[in-house]
């Protein structure tokens, strides 16, 4: 029986649907105290004295700690290849200055969360407000957010390849467009949170943390707290969603951990929704100027781009990654001989940004795919045809782009053909002609994408017991992906057992082997491949003995193997088609259909893969229709609750139809690439192209998302 490739239902669903999952807030420890934070009301201010007298006088309040009370380092900053990154890590509690509204200034520990909030209101903080820095394009001339960071440039990266200047000079035509991609919030159903407990007799600090994996909290907390790995244990319980926003550990987690050591009591912080809006890192936030040089036959001769990323007040370990990824993927699925791309990651007085589903890839797809449509309009060519003339062809892989990454595999034209068929583009074009004759506003758009996925390494420990049951200890960690199902399918095939006989253990750094974590659509390609390597070692031993793995395990009283799997980046890809209609009297955008074609290499479980496509597409649609984190001129987040920041519901969703093209990756034994983010990457590009297509008869060439009613209504007047 082969299990990989079958639509096995998620075995973990029974637990979740019955309410039997254990989230952070479900955990209980004896003597557990609760934390609340005093947060800055100003986007930018010098920080004066913190007076906790009145708060400490409330019965039941145990402690109020400010930045100067904790002996900790800021959270670590991460770099990007070939880039310069400033030393501007997020302080555990604000020191000297606050750099966004909502930044944690002091920690209150009390017998209950309600009491901690009462006390937090009584903490008096002196602030000297400073001018906020809000516009990433203007920030280089603004007041300095960090005294040591000139021109507020936290990250600089650039690359020139070929001779773009000559290409533009000699080009038949050139097109240029400026873009603004707003910030978004990840909005997981379960906000962030942590419990910290220190056992002084053994000096072990245990942190239960709603996170994407235990490894990065372990490394980041170890850095901030100055604590060795063997004195720190991180346990990730069931997690109610992350979408990238729980990859880098928040300063609040480090504060609670440091306080648990300092005070000698176990402490919990369960983030509330307001805190999550204000203080969890946001996604996207990019301004860009992009130009293409074109030959008369539609070949793209050169790409020029300047990107201004609105990074916020500090750098998390992953903050620089998203704009770097955007830059590196700007050539998309196209063979472009000359490039000149520059990124400035700008300090603004807003909450930092970080990875959110797609993490730089949706921005790249949006920019290049919009430019290709604008170029097609300029040349009077069909947008799909212009794409076909520029695709990296199937025989070119492995293909190194002029920006430096090497695409491992892909079938871009097959993906486009499949999407054009699935999205019924020909029929929709006829419908569009009729609709236009009736005064209706209909548009059809295509969006291609390339997704950097996987890379680095993961590990797996595998033990097969004498009774034939297998236990997989994986460094990869689920928060909605379905590891318990897919990893059991993989192990079952390799070991020749039933998936039900495979137990998956994850999340506790004291139990699982080292790893990096769950992000970048890498679980199956990396964690799954580590599992394959371990299982194949057992299978080889069994074959040598002339036995099955189960027989060998029975004979030896159980057998074990461990593996570490390492690989370069793999590149998933795909093509999406969106059809939209705009209601003229109200400006309301309706997405009528989305056709989603993803090439994620070999699919382990088509049911779960489809779930990933649907979920990611819905998040991509949200970005098009309603989502936008808006700051006012004082730097206050205006969209700080679900009353002001909308997420789509089932009622708004169009028909979404998916299909997979399977071009296996040569870089791992499963042939897997990534499936977690394609919908979020390609959907905004496809919908934006459809909106521009719909508005073309009104003389509109480009609209930035979100495509709100008021914006579209004005364009239609």
């Amino acid at each position: 029986m082969t299990w990989v490739g079958r639509p096995v239902p998620r075995r973990e669903d029974a637990r979740f649907l019955r309410g039997e999952a254990t989230y952070l807030d479900d955990l209980e420890l004896p003597g557990l105290l609760e934390a609340a934070f005093v947060r800055s009301p100003f986007a930018h201010a010098r920080l004066g004295a913190v007076d906790a007298g009145a708060a400490l006088a409330l019965p039941g309040v145990v402690a109020v700690l400010a930045g100067s009370d904790l002996d900790v380092l800021p959270l670590p900053v991460g770099g990007v290849e070939g880039g310069v990154v400033a030393d501007a890590g997020h302080p555990v509690l604000a020191r000297g200055k606050v750099r966004y509204a909502g930044e944690a200034v002091a920690l209150v520990v009390a017998g209950s969360r309600a009491l901690a909030e009462d006390a937090a209101e009584l903490v008096e903080v002196d602030y000297e407000p400073l001018e906020p820095v809000l516009d990433p394009r203007a920030a280089s001339a603004g007041p300095l957010v960090h005294d040591h960071v000139a021109e507020n440039a936290l990250v600089r990266w650039s690359r020139v390849h070929g001779d773009p200047e000559a290409a533009f000079a000699a080009a038949h035509a050139a097109v240029a467009q400026s873009f603004h991609i707003p910030r978004l919030v990840a909005a997981p159903i379960e906000p962030r949170g942590a419990i910290a407990r220190h056992e002084p007799e053994v000096d072990i600090l245990t942190v239960w943390c709603s996170a994407q994996d235990p490894h990065r909290p372990l490394a980041q907390l170890g850095h901030a707290l100055g604590r060795d790995r063997d004195r720190l244990r991180v346990v990730v319980p069931d997690v109610g969603g992350a979408f990238g926003s729980k990859g880098a550990v928040g300063p609040e987690v480090a504060a609670v951990a440091a306080a648990a050591v300092e005070l000698g009591v176990p402490i919990r912080w369960t983030e509330d929704r307001t805190e999550n809006f204000l203080a969890a890192y946001q996604g996207r936030g990019l301004d860009a100027d992009v130009e293409l040089a074109l030959a008369s036959d539609g070949r793209i001769l050169a790409l020029r781009a300047a990107l201004y990323a609105d990074l916020g007040g500090y750098l998390y370990a992953t903050t620089a990654v998203a704009p770097h990824t955007t830059a590196m993927l700007l050539c998309g699925t196209y063979r472009i001989p000359a490039v000149d791309v520059e990124v400035v990651g700008v300090a603004t007085t807003k909450v930092p940004t970080g990875p959110y589903r797609g993490a730089g890839r949706p921005e790249a797809a949006f920019l290049i795919e919009r430019m290709v449509d604008i170029a097609a309009g300029e040349l009077g060519l069909d947008p799909a045809e212009l794409r076909r003339r520029n695709f990296v062809p199937p025989d070119a892989f492995p293909y190194q782009t002029p920006l430096g990454w090497t695409y491992d595999s892909g079938s871009f034209e097959r993906c486009l053909d499949a999407a054009v068929e699935l999205g019924e583009v020909e029929r929709r074009r006829v419908e569009q002609a009729w609709a236009r004759a009736e005064g209706r506003v209909l548009g059809v758009g295509v969006g291609m994408y390339v997704e950097r996925a996987a890379g680095l390494w993961e590990s797996a420990d595998l033990r097969v017991e004498a009774d034939g049951r297998a236990v997989v200890r994986t460094g990869s960690s689920p928060h909605g992906q379905g590891h318990e199902t897919t990893f059991a399918q993989i192990a079952a095939d390799e070991l020749g057992v039933d998936p039900e006989a495979v137990e998956i253990v994850w999340g506790d750094s004291g139990e699982v082997p080292p790893g990096i974590g769950t992000f970048a659509s890498r679980s199956v390609a990396m964690g799954g491949s580590a599992l394959v390597v371990a299982a194949r070692e057992l299978a080889a031993r069994a074959t040598q003995a002339g036995l099955s793995v189960a027989e060998l395990a029975a004979a030896e009283g159980g057998v074990e193997a461990s593996a570490r799997f390492e690989s370069g980046l793999v590149f998933a890809s795909g093509a999406y088609v969106a059809v939209v209609e705009i209601d003229r009297p109200t400006g309301r955008l309706r997405v009528l259909s989305v056709a989603a074609v993803d090439d994620s290499g070999r699919i382990v479980n088509p049911l779960l893969a489809e779930g990933q496509v649907l979920g990611a597409t819905v998040q991509g649609l949200g970005q098009c229709l309603v989502e936008e984190a808006v700051h006012d001129e004082e730097g206050q987040l205006r969209t700080a609750s679900f009353a002001d920041y909308s997420l789509l519901t089932a009622a708004e969703l169009p028909a979404i139809e998916g299909r997979f093209v399977e071009t296996p990756s040569p870089l791992n034994p499963l042939g897997a690439k990534g499936i977690g983010e394609g919908g979020a990457i390609a959907t905004p590009a496809a919908v934006a192209n459809a909106v521009a297509d719909a508005l073309a008869p009104f003389g509109v060439r480009h609209v930035d998302p979100p495509f709100t009613e008021a914006k579209l209504w004005r364009l239609l007047r």
Partner: protein, 272 residues
């Protein structure tokens, strides 16, 4: 997101509720479904000294047809309205409007009288009730009075109810014989706060029109009704409905166009 401390009472009888509301020197709030009040408490935007919980006052939990009128008690839930066959048959505008109230969990808990007393101009039922010429019965330890919509709604989230008064019942007369009705709404997502909306009841040239999110209160568009009566033109009536609106903010022009379109659609559908 925990409320500030408050005292709490859960009386069993209306008389006891009114006595508690009459106490001097305290800021007292009435808790019914809690779908607006509890978030305000959790955000600490509302900090009452005392909550009086109506949920155990059984005499207020009713929704019934009484001859030609519908009587909605203070504890009738949105879901009661939504599921009532009598409402669907006799007051289809209410049945249509209630489907736009939040989500199913909110409708299961939230009360019709609570929504009216909260007086959010973007709420559905106050607007539908205004279009139906509903009467609002108010009680206090001092006595009782009955108000029309235009006497009840004073401003944004503000009514003419005194601190010691409770909205105990809404009385909805039967719509005019042979009338049709329609409720239309525009929100970013289903169940989200309305950006605009309209409720219409039309019988020939007798039209009643009320607008959502068109000003500080649920708004009866009397000028538009007059235009239907005198000229019989829905597009002109829709123009008249929005002509006098005082809309502000960067999207005021779009909101006026939206409300005009929604008024027109409501009138046309009600007449269809």
């Amino acid at each position: 997101m925990k409320p500030a401390a408050f005292a709490y009472d859960d009386p069993r009888e209306l008389g006891h509720v009114l006595d508690l509301l009459a106490r001097e020197g305290e800021d007292v709030k009435v808790l019914a479904g809690g779908q607006s009040l509890v978030p305000l408490l959790n955000f600490r935007l509302a900090r009452p000294d005392r909550l009086v919980d109506l949920n155990r006052v059984e005499e207020l939990a009713y929704l019934r047809r009484d001859g030609d009128v519908l009587r909605i008690g203070a504890l009738a839930r949105h879901a009661d309205l939504e599921r009532s066959e009598e409402v669907a048959a006799g007051w289809p505008l209410l049945a249509a409007a209630v489907r736009f109230v939040g989500h199913v969990q909110i409708r299961a808990r939230g009360t019709v009288c609570g929504s009216v007393a909260h007086a959010d101009p973007a709420a559905e039922l106050p607007v539908a009730l205004a279009a139906l010429d509903a009467r609002f019965h108010v009680r206090s330890a001092r006595g009782s009075r009955t108000l029309g919509a235009e006497e009840l709604f004073l401003g944004f989230l503000t009514t003419t109810l005194e601190p010691d008064e409770l909205l105990v019942e809404i009385e909805v007369p039967a719509p005019p014989a042979g009338s049709g009705s329609a409720f239309v709404e525009h929100a970013r997502t289903h169940g989200d706060f309305a950006l605009g909306g309209a409720a219409a009841v039309v019988a020939g040239r007798e039209a009643r029109l009320a607008l959502l999110a068109a000003g500080p209160v649920p708004l009866r568009a009397r000028e538009a009704e007059e235009v239907v009566a005198t000229r019989g033109s829905f597009p002109e009536a829709a123009d008249a409905a929005v002509a006098a609106l005082e809309l502000t903010g960067p999207d005021a022009d779009w909101r006026r166009a939206l409300l005009r379109e929604l008024a027109l659609r409501a009138l046309e559908r009600a007449a269809a």
